[in-house]
Symmetry: C2
């Protein structure tokens, strides 16, 4: 049976020692959230994840969701109680505006809690996660009346949210959307069409479900410029704001899928359903992108979350499973065999995962803090710089953390040998669940194109220049710190490869745009390694500084210095292979005619 | 719905144009097997895979095997008929000795057919595959009486075979086996113990099941030196050699696992079951290794097989799915969107898979031919050289082809976007099925250790030196062929990294054996890339030579030259990252105490 322990100590070390949490104290939401309060909140939230959500994960996978003949969908046993615990504890609205019943804490705290929830039970965590996305979209784009109607219900957890984009003929290419919205006299619209792959589209956890739906108003232009966003509740709010009459939207089927079985993935049929325009006509895509960007960072966190949970179980197994003897001499002579953690190849897998997890968590928290700054800072330049960082790093976090999170789940499963292939180990579920994160909210190839095609050139490359400056300042400021030299030299090597790759793109992508497309995924992963390398340099600096401070955690700091070295020695060298592939250009990739495949 | 087409043309090109099939004509089994006969056989076998096995793959996965209360196990609908077709067609004994009812064809042909069968239906193909392993073990180690009793039944498909090694407390470390064998007066043994993860342990496809079981004779030494191999049939052969009385072996449970659902993975309980010693007392492990080595090559083929099937489906999808417009300008103006094969990142995935598949198939066939030579050649030196090649390449093929085959199934699934996560696409099944091949028959970390710890140093490094010589001769002989220069330079770069890695191991693994363990997996993959690179150089040479020959296949040859270039530009550069990791040594990997994980 798999287990999980929320890494609260890790989080606090990153927040306070590595990322200088106290520097954010001047921001409104942070003023009230001193480190000891944060730690208390995370400890309580972590316990909920460990004790309530995690035990439901494996049985939830086996049971899945059930669609009944009348179109109702029921979630696995225990999910309703667990959802109530999350809602009552105020976890859904941790960072929501107190005006709507939220707790007004930094958004960063929600991101951290989402890591813990997704580690414990990804399929479950998606329900409140989608509500948070719907909250964000309505908060920014909804009318005052819409906010008053929907936000308190979403924040309290009484109602949940969904995103309705995909249709059978369109996934990435939303310009192909066919769902129609016909205006009615009362200002509402009649929404008609079919949406697929709608996560949490129908379930039994909440009184009502608030669908945010992309559709085309009758007569609107073709393509993405004709899309509008609508709010379409499952039950129409009555005069008291409670769930009233049933709306014309229903679940036609739930998908049989590879994983996240306990989250209902629905085909939603809109049959003249009543919807209300959110924001401006024909500007639905940009409104939806608020939700998407929010969701993309959250999906990146899912990659980290599964990687962490898989790691913990693999490490436990490796310490306990007795098999073979160490090639450097017997380590446990009193036992029939040594624990497999003595074998280098087992450690290779474990170290690879942990070297990713610790830095990825730092990257996520750092970026989330920038997200808070981008909204909360008084100074406009500061907000702009933070927004640049957030925009640049979002596709990297989404793409790299989910690709690597999946690869790490596979590695952790491998530690278990044959036992990892058996459902009861839970390792198989981690792999199957992690797989979706590489696909949804924009497949990772789309993230890479977003990075290379949109985020790099934006504002004349301002965000990327700032990212390089961040690295270069760190390298310069710490250049004479002997202890840090292996971390700095590794970071420098990666940084230089990233610079060369950027130069190559500047010189070659204009002449042949396929060169950008052909380079995109490698560029994203190269960028990710450098960003993780920067995190390791910062972690190493903090660990070295805290070591010997008498806080009783010297072994933890020593482990960080070792793990960071492993990253620089064994993971950072991959940047050179990425650079070689990028510099190879598009020609061999694009040469074959379609029929030759 | 997934589909499959057996790549007979590809196989024939490799056999005849790349690997010089006609050079083997002096070997007994080959004399009767001219290329046109081989092609006819493969065409017929391919059709069976396409029309009979493949349609059962997806439904077989959904249905799985069922264990009934009486211990019987039934396979999915259609499996019995399909098995009968395979058996009646003589496919199980294609390469078996005609004395036992086999067709006496080269073993290479069986390997090729196994690729097609595993592409079409891996879970199904395991049943005859295990029989072939049992045949090999009994042929080499069984007594004449045992051969007469079992081999004709196995060859005809009336009886099937299994391998029984794993127990709950031992997987890799077979020295921990507890299953007991107590000698009886009649020369038989009473076998008692419990085996787990026994593929095809119980099913309804055959009249009888022949279990090959590793057990410890009462009083035998501890560890692997006390293991003996036994044949334990489900039904004891009667005086006429038919399945008679029920033996004391039964299936206690079947495993709930990630994939290969249609193959029954059983817990087998031996309760004083009657067994007979195969080969010599306490030499069971080496007898079992005959079966294992045979199986390891076969498992490597499974990696290729899934990669091929996944590729074919992804390529079809990419040609048909309309989404977005090419970044270099609209390609299908008459359609609502371009087919996604216009997008470089989609091609990156497809090209990566095909660049692996074609070379991996060449490597498998080349090595299988060596396998035939190692048994059939008259000249002892020739047999020894072939045996060296087979021994050296077996762990590489097992480890690299299954790791990469799985990664490729994941890539192919990614081409499908969200649709690939849905069961009916079949892509999810490819990923889940491919995953097991990295684990069974020795997890890939064990393959890497076998390569580095056993195969490299064997006979003073003779096999590796011969492998380098093979490359160097090819480089030299073709050095002035302008057309080949991109392939030769890529191969040379990889070869040089492999040489450096070997030197590093020679200098550092003696002083600290953990350095070998820490390098093993990277070394195996580095070796694999160089071996695949050699195959690409040979394929390119053959394609260039055949191009313009008027055989109407110039487009095929042109595609090979492009795909080989893609391999050299985008896959071979990974050797440098492997070398960097190998040269980093074990220190950061081994530094942490177990409790720090």
């Amino acid at each position: 049976m798999p287990s999980y322990k929320a890494p609260v100590d890790e989080t606090m070390f990153l927040l306070t020692d590595v990322l200088g949490y106290e520097r954010y104290g001047n921001l409104p939401a942070f003023a009230e959230a001193a480190p000891d309060l944060i730690e208390a909140i995370l400890t309580e939230g972590g316990k909920l994840c460990e004790e309530v959500l995690q035990p439901l994960n494996l049985p939830g996978d086996a049971a899945g969701c059930t669609r009944h003949d009348d179109g109702r969908v029921t979630t696995p046993d225990g999910f309703r109680d667990a959802y109530e615990a999350i809602a009552e504890g105020g976890w859904i609205g941790l960072a929501a505006d107190p005006e709507y019943g939220g707790q007004g804490l930094p958004h960063t705290l929600t991101v951290i809690m989402n890591e813990y929830m997704c580690s414990a039970n990804l399929a479950f965590a998606m329900y409140p996660g989608l509500s948070q996305g719907a909250y964000a979209a309505l908060l920014l784009h909804g009318s005052d009346a819409q906010k008053r109607t929907y936000l308190p219900k979403i924040v309290s957890g009484a109602w949940s949210g969904t995103m309705n984009l995909t249709e059978p003929q369109c996934g990435t290419d939303l310009g192909l959307i066919r769902t129609k919205a016909v205006p009615r006299d009362d200002g509402s619209y009649a929404i008609t069409g079919s949406k697929i792959f709608i996560s949490a589209g129908e379930h039994d956890l909440t009184e009502n479900i608030v669908h945010l739906v992309l559709a085309r108003i009758d007569g609107a232009p073709a393509g993405t410029d004709g899309l509008s966003l609508f709010v379409v509740p499952k039950f129409l709010p009555d005069d008291d704001g409670n769930a009233g009459a049933r709306n014309g939207v229903s679940c036609g089927a739930i998908e049989e899928k590879m994983g996240i079985h306990a989250n209902s993935t629905c085909t939603m049929n809109y049959d003249g359903a009543t919807g209300w325009l959110v924001g401006t006509e024909n500007k639905g895509l940009s409104a939806m992108f608020t939700m998407m960007n929010h969701a993309r960072l959250g999906v990146g966190v899912q990659g980290l979350a599964i990687s962490e949970a898989a790691y913990q179980n693999a490490a436990d197994y490796a310490r306990e499973r007795l098999q073979g003897r160490s090639i450097s001499g017997t380590k446990a002579p009193d036992k029939p065999a040594d624990p497999i953690i003595v074998h280098p190849d087992i450690r290779r897998m474990l170290m690879t995962i942990r070297a990713f997890n610790e830095a990825a968590r730092a990257l996520v928290i750092w970026t989330s803090l920038k997200g808070d700054v981008s909204v909360l800072a008084e100074d406009e330049d500061e907000r702009e710089r933070a927004e640049d960082h957030l925009a640049l790093l979002t596709p990297v976090i989404k793409g790299v953390l989910t690709d690597t999170g999946f690869a790490n789940a596979v590695l952790a499963q491998q530690v278990f040998g044959g036992h990892g292939y058996i459902a009861e180990s839970g390792m198989d579920q981690f792999v199957r669940d992690a797989r979706i994160a590489m696909i949804y909210e924009g497949a990772n190839g789309i993230q890479a194109l977003d990075l290379v095609g949109r985020k790099l050139p934006a504002n004349g490359g301002r965000a990327l220049r700032a990212f390089f400056r961040e690295i270069d300042v760190f390298l310069k400021e710490n250049g004479d710190n002997e202890t840090l030299s292996p971390y700095l030299s590794g970071l420098k090597a990666g940084r230089d490869d990233l610079e060369k790759a950027t130069m190559w793109l500047m010189q070659n992508a204009m002449a042949d745009r396929d060169n950008a497309g052909a380079a995109a995924t490698d560029f994203m992963h190269l960028f990710g390694l450098v960003a993780l390398g920067l995190m390791w340099a910062k972690i190493a600096k903090a660990a070295a500084a805290k070591s010997g401070s008498g806080d009783g955690r010297d072994e933890v700091y020593a482990a960080k210095l070792v793990t960071g070295r492993f990253f620089m020695e064994r993971m950072m060298p991959e940047t050179a292979a990425h650079l070689a592939r990028i510099s190879a250009g598009a020609s061999s990739m694009m040469a074959l005619p379609a029929e030759a495949f």
